[in-house]
């Protein structure tokens, strides 16, 4: 059959080869100004030089620790808020639409405020990433916990399970798949937000280095940084999917 997976792999491989070849040809014969698209070999050698520098690893360290802090705060506050809101049905009915309406406002608008209040350093990126990551986690926690069958809770109470035991053994397993989706979405939103905050206004980190390379008109270096971020995003995507599948499998 012509629609075999091998054939689609071949098409994908052909697509990738064509893209890389087009990039090479464009650089070789200066079809596109090198400022917009530097030759692929220049980007490659720039990347090779970049990963040998001290600044490269310190920028990566800054960005990773910012993402970790932002995501950690988003997870703790999001799950906690979701749990507290779903303690009462009335509160859920009142607050759930408010939280989801707030989420429809692009939080990016408030980035200048985060900078104003938390300064230009990493604290503002932590707060910005945490604020963005909070909403999907809180909304999914609410969705997961509010759909736990009331009869299970009544049964647990009748069997004399403590409040903690009910959360641990009844609510958590029932709500977990939905919350897990929120945790995944929250992670990627926090990841992109931290990079965005760094790109737009910051003094250090990966995003700042990309913006700086553009300001210094060093496109090869900028592309090298972008390649690093794209690779990191793809690796993280695969890793998060693997973790998620594993946790769902339990």
């Amino acid at each position: 059959m012509k629609d075999s997976p091998a054939a689609s792999r071949l098409v994908q491989l052909g697509f990738l080869t064509a893209a890389v070849t087009a990039w090479y040809v464009a650089g070789r014969f200066s079809v596109v100004p090198p400022l917009f698209l530097p030759p692929i070999d220049a980007v490659w050698s720039s990347l090779n030089g970049l990963i040998r520098t001290e600044e490269f690893w310190s920028a990566i360290g800054v960005t990773l620790s910012t993402i970790a802090k932002a995501y950690g705060i988003a997870v703790v506050l999001g799950v906690l808020a979701g749990y507290l809101v779903t303690r009462s049905r009335f509160l859920t009915a009142v607050l759930e639409p408010v939280i989801s309406a707030l989420f429809s406002i692009p939080i990016t608008l408030f980035l200048p405020l985060f900078i104003l209040v938390f300064g230009i350093g990493t604290a503002s990126k932590v707060a910005y990433g945490a604020a963005y990551g909070f909403f999907p986690i809180a909304l999914n926690t609410i969705a997961g916990l509010s759909r736990v069958d009331r009869r299970y809770l009544a049964a647990a109470r009748a069997l004399g399970i403590s409040a903690f035991g009910t959360v641990r053994h009844v609510m958590w397993p029932a709500a977990f798949p939905v919350i897990l989706t929120g945790l995944r979405i929250g992670f990627f939103i926090a990841f992109a937000s931290v990079l965005g905050g760094e790109t737009i206004s910051s003094v250090e980190g990966v995003g700042r280095n990309i913006a700086l390379s553009a300001e210094l008109l060093e496109p090869a270096r900028m592309y090298a940084w972008i390649v690093v971020v794209v690779a990191a995003a793809l690796v993280l995507n695969g890793a998060v999917s693997a973790i998620e599948n594993r946790m769902r499998g339990q």
Binding site: D3, S8, F90, L113, I115, A214, P219, L234
Partner: protein
């Protein structure tokens, strides 16, 4: 329910006012009264700010129209055959997973600091949700219907128009709503990055002068614009997808 929500809003505003008033905005959180005053005295009165806001709206609408058209055309091309879908859908999903914001310096390098960069960035953010939802929607079409239509002599265009489109409508309009959110995000990111013109210039101006009241007011106007555009997209989605749930239930 509505009363409770209004009460929460009122309590929040009063608490905000009480907490922020004594410091007079010294800790950079302006009280609501000062924001309202700044809204009418500074932000709305300044012609340059007004035109910057209207221009942002124009950029969003241009980017959105391009994203919907581009996503629809590409989505139909990729989704129309099994082979194309299986080859390119994973590529689309991979590209969608890349945080585009890191390309922002590149976009402004190529398109300059004018509206073109903002429209391009809004487009690249908006096109993916449309594309993904069009492809996913075409997958929902029962292949038996397509085979039946082909047996009755329908051309590819007829099949897309009369068989596929009605079935992918739900997914398509969800894509339109999501695209509105992401297009807005793209345009605002570009606006904030380019701080020498447009809304980004004014947010930077107010922030650097430690003048939080007009900054809050400006952000408030843009937030209202965002909510209005979102609600518009949502009501279009409801209007065009209700028949499906209504007819099957």
């Amino acid at each position: 329910m509505l009363a409770a929500r209004a009460a929460i809003l009122a309590v929040t505003l009063v608490a905000w006012e009480v907490a922020a008033r004594p410091t007079g905005g010294a800790d950079l959180i302006a009280p609501p009264s000062a924001i309202a005053q700044a809204l009418f005295a500074t932000v709305l009165r300044d012609g340059a700010i007004r035109s910057a806001i209207l221009f942002t709206l124009f950029e969003v609408l241009c980017a959105y129209a391009l994203a919907v058209a581009g996503g629809l055309v590409l989505g139909l091309a990729i989704g129309s055959t099994e082979m194309a879908r299986r080859s390119f859908y994973p590529v689309v999903l991979l590209l969608y997973a890349i945080p585009q914001v890191v390309m922002l310096p590149l976009v402004t390098l190529v398109f300059g600091i004018g509206p073109a960069a903002k429209i391009a960035f809004g487009f690249s953010h908006g096109v993916f949700p449309v594309l993904v939802n069009v492809i996913a929607g075409m997958r929902n079409v029962n292949p038996l219907y397509v085979r039946a239509a082909t047996a009755m002599g329908a051309q590819r265009a007829d099949i897309i128009r009369h068989v596929m489109f009605p079935h992918m409508a739900t997914s398509f309009f969800t894509g339109l709503r999501l695209a509105m959110t992401t297009t807005l995000l793209g345009v605002i990111l570009a606006e904030l990055y380019v701080s020498t013109a447009g809304v980004g210039y004014f947010t930077k101006l107010f922030a650097e002068n430690f003048d939080p009241a007009p900054l809050f007011a400006l952000i408030g106007i843009l937030a209202v614009m965002a909510i209005a555009l979102n609600e518009l997209a949502r009501s279009v989605e409801r209007r065009f997808t209700h028949w499906r749930t209504a007819s099957t239930s």
